[in-house]
Symmetry: D2
Subunit: 109 residues, 4 copies
């Protein structure tokens, strides 16, 4: 099964996408939405690239390494933004992003 070696990364990407989408959703419900604008923006970027890479790995893309490398960068910037906010959803999102950035970097190497 061509994507078996990618299963661990696919799961991590999935968790990161979920955390980012939940954070996006929750940020839009916060009292101070303005303070969360950067977070909302990066949550979408990060959820979208994680979802994209999941799909691409699952179908045996020949560009796994290049895509993982971009994904690592986006996860890292999203994590850096999220960790500045005290909301539980931001902190959890930051954790998921940093974990995913690490795995993407290792995979791309």
């Amino acid at each position: 099964m061509p994507h078996e070696q990618h299963t661990a990364l696919i799961n991590t990407l999935h968790e990161c996408m979920e955390a980012c989408n939940h954070c996006f959703d929750a940020c839009l419900e916060e009292d101070d939405v303005k303070m969360m604008a950067g977070c909302i923006r990066l949550d979408r970027e990060c959820a979208d690239i994680c979802g994209y890479l999941e799909q691409a790995l699952g179908r045996g893309t020949p560009f796994a390494s290049e895509l993982a490398s971009v994904c690592a960068k986006i996860c890292e910037e999203c994590g850096n933004e999220c960790k500045q906010h005290d909301h539980d959803h931001c902190q959890k999102c930051a954790d998921a992003c940093f974990k995913c950035a690490e795995e993407c970097k290792r995979f791309a190497a």
Copy 2:
């Protein structure tokens, strides 16, 4: 957490997307690719809508029911095509599609 009630469906969508992408990939490696053309086409349709709905549920989309209803139909047609082929990847994909179609239908109702 707004998407918690959707967790079961998200997991099923994820498994269906994975099965479809694996089937897409494997069909393209078969000896008789021509016989698999319908399968290849529907695998992409189905993987894409499952991935889309996963993302949408995760961010608390207000259109969950409408999207699940379309997804159910696509899963069903992909399952019907796949189950006609003896390849292991097609049979597994058909199972994942029918399971996902059922859950989407129940969710949309």
Copy 3:
């Protein structure tokens, strides 16, 4: 060319996606982001489904009608939200959404 009959709709979807993404981006830069939260959320929903349907029509999806019907609904709700806001990007987005909703509805019928 299988997608030629869809060219007009594809162009309208493309314009709507562009208007929604621009509105998403601009809403996040407004002074009162909180007031724009519903707009930000629906802009993403609408941009994503328009982009999805564009792709699907271009590859000759067998589910054009079902997808256009969901897209029409999402465009309409996004248009309804956007037209309540005076910002130029919201008004332009509402116009693009209503035009796209109409064409999707006609196409789906």
Copy 4:
């Protein structure tokens, strides 16, 4: 309007996505589908990344350059595969891919 400077690239990406999706669709209808397997696979990769980058540029992604760089590589490989096939849809797709690869490279630089 944040995405105005990106309009030319967005149009090129759109044309490339359309050409790839049409080629994907047409390859699946050819007599010798097996010979087109590589083309079918790369058409999907290329259509998906072009569609993704279109969306991302439209919303003012902070990762435009990194994404354009990956997109350039995928377009180039898709173009290289397509130009080996005499079908009109493959030749047109190759042209669109090479044009898009060039613009992405210039943009990323």
